[in-house]
Amino acid sequence: MRGDRAFLMILPAYLLIGAVAIFPILNAFRISLDRRMPVFGISYFVGLDNYRFLIQDPRFWQSFLNTTYFSMLSVSLELTLGLIMALLLHGSFRGRGLLRAVVLIPWAIPTVVSARMWEWILNPDFGLLNYLLQQIGLLSSPLNWLGDRVFAMHALILADVWKTSPFVAIILLAGLQMIPEELYEAARVDGAGGWQIFRRITFPLLLPFILIALLFRTLDAFRIFDLVYVLTGGGPANTTETLSLYAYKLLFQTLQFGYGSAVAVATFLTVLLISAACILLLRRQSHG
């Protein structure tokens, strides 16, 4: 009886999730089995044809690799920087509250806005970055950050790291504050050095938080869209085209609903796999 009522109470939540999450996913999968281009009056079932095409589509694989590279590099940098920032912010010093708030500013700015800002910073001719690098003598002539096949991707990573390291820092800071002060005191009494304390106490106890940050950031990074859309549009020569951007171009710019959905479903499955792996890791961690 109690169980029945409990079920009734959570039913609305299930319905809501079903309507806004499960149904769209299933529907996208359903559409991905069609050749569907409403503008041309084309709509018929083709089974797995779109997926067969996808396997051989070099543009899909390139955007897959771009996305993977972007995610791996940006997330590792964000975790490293975020950890350093968290450790610094954890100490007690004057103005700590203010600094903690200030650090969050990049995270608070909407990505499209900060992307526009980076567009100007990275501008080859009027940009701040080139100016500074030339002033300190690191560059002899201005670099074309967003128009270069190697730099463009790294400029995007830089912008992403700038924006999301504070987010990682805040999660890790919360983790640091959960570690009881007595542990540190005991360690110091036993004569442990700073590095030893970090390795034996801080890091292991912080690990669950690091894994949570890793999970959030990887999922977010893998779906990166707005930054790329504003800064490079996927160029030059598709070197920065990510899966979400490719799917967007197929779905919204050229209205190829069938194939676009197939790309979207493939992205979804990849993200699902990554989250499963992260969650597994997290479970193993917390069980021992």
Binding site: S141, G233, P236, L255, T267, F268
Partner: protein, 431 residues
């Protein structure tokens, strides 16, 4: 992906809400304004909106009892295309008259979303209009839109620098390169660039690349086959690549530059030549501009022995096939695209008119010293491939062209890859 689905979902919701709101306003206005007829005109954001509103008020005075509501869409053509495609796919009657980019007409006409205007235009059809816009407006011999204003790629040059070295505006790319190199050498200014154009991976790159390809006697599509394997196209992309990496007449920054980036650079007095649309001139002539009085306009150069081939841009007015007031909508199209209205738009907003006769207009000529090169550009302007599949084709070509000019792939390879992808799309119609 979740976010993508959310995006798809929220996009859909947004459009549903938009459509619902549009529906509400229509119904609402129909009820509370007995005897007054509403007409909705959707268009992109125009500069100095009071000019267009003035024209619309004049239309309302001529047609008592008619009220025209303007609805402004975001500036990006991609977003406008998305809005129209979604609304019209749902047979929405939320707007009656709308402004169409030249590259959409074929797609929309084929989909049956545009009212066939041929019977209303009568036997004269689009007589007196420039050939490029007319080609863009025609699908299977029927006319689906009326050219509103034209656009074409044009060469901007620094009058002061060219005359200092005794040069006339270049007619060929070779001439342009030589002039640029001489001036760069003579000026010894490390900040001065030679020739800037739009090389970012986006629609603008297609426009520029077509000017090189067409300007070498090449073309993109031949029937259902790609014409890009031809050596004329290969030479064209090779030249674009060489301008950046071999002769260094164009700075590397062009590979990430769009219209505005190049406009700022030229406007700061840091480039000798620029390819852009005509809109930039009015901004250069404004008070406070660093190069006021120094910018000149000329027809774009071409390859030796071929004619200059600026890419055609511009906007047309069409009537929504699902409009409940097609006759009134047509009246508005007729009014806004009339010679008199186009003259107002040209005088006050600098919209280049799509009619021959306006380029002979004494008043217009007096107001704008660049009417002759503009006319030349408009007359020579070539549309982008006139096919309902244009948007798909453009999406396929953008990364390949970008790869070729950056030297990521040799031009032959890039154009071969582009051709294969394009033929995949061109095949569609047969199915």
């Amino acid at each position: 992906m979740r976010s993508l689905i959310c995006r798809v979902g929220s996009g859909a919701c947004f459009i549903i809400v938009l459509a619902a709101l549009a529906g509400c306003t229509r119904e609402g206005t129909m009820k509370d304004a007995e005897g007054e007829m509403k007409l909705v005109f959707t268009h992109f954001k125009v500069p100095s909106p009071e000019v267009l509103s003035g024209l619309i008020e004049a239309f309302e005075r001529q047609n008592p009892g008619v009220k025209v509501v303007e609805e402004v869409l975001p500036a990006s053509t991609d977003q406008q295309h998305q809005y129209y495609a979604t609304a019209l796919e749902g047979r929405s009657a939320a707007f009656d008259v709308f402004a169409l980019d030249v590259i959409w007409i074929q797609e929309f006409a084929r989909a049956g979303w545009l009212l066939d205007l041929t019977p209303r235009l009568g036997a004269t059809r689009l007589a007196g209009f420039l050939p490029g816009p007319v080609e863009a407006a025609t699908y299977k011999d029927q006319i689906y839109a009326v050219p509103w204003f034209a656009n074409a790629g044009i060469l901007y040059f620094r009058k002061d620098l060219l005359s200092k070295y005794g040069f006339a505006p270049p007619r060929t790319f070779t001439e342009l390169s030589q002039q640029a190199m001489t001036i760069l050498e003579g000026e010894e200014d490390p900040n001065l660039k030679g020739f800037v154009w739009q090389g970012k991976q986006y629609e603008g790159l297609i426009c520029v690349a077509l000017e090189f390809i067409h300007g070498n006697g090449g073309t993109v599509i031949d029937g259902r086959r790609s014409a890009l394997r031809d050596k004329k196209a290969v030479e064209a992309l090779q030249l674009m690549h060489d301008l950046i990496s071999v002769t260094r007449v164009s700075p590397p920054l062009v590979t990430s530059a769009d219209e505005e980036a190049t406009r700022h650079l030229f406007g700061a007095g840091r480039a000798i030549f620029m390819r852009n649309w005509p809109y930039a001139l009015a901004l250069y002539e404004q008070e406070g501009s660093k190069i006021r009085g120094m910018a000149g306009m000329a027809t774009l150069p071409s390859f030796e022995g071929y004619q200059s081939a600026p890419t055609l841009g511009g906007w047309l007015l069409g009537v929504n096939r699902f409009s409940t007031r097609p006759d009134l909508a047509w009246k508005l199209v007729e009014f806004l695209s009339s010679q008199a209205s186009q003259k107002v738009l040209a005088m006050k907003l600098g919209f280049p008119p799509p009619r021959d006769v306006l380029y002979q207009d004494a008043e217009l000529k007096k107001g704008n010293p660049f009417i002759p090169p503009l006319y030349e550009a408009m007359r020579l302007a070539r549309p982008r491939p006139v096919t309902p599949f244009y948007l798909m084709i453009s999406q396929l070509l953008q990364p390949e062209f970008s790869a070729a000019i950056m030297g990521v792939k040799p031009p032959e390879q890039a154009l071969e890859d582009a051709s294969r992808l394009m033929e995949h799309v061109l095949k569609l119609e047969i199915e």
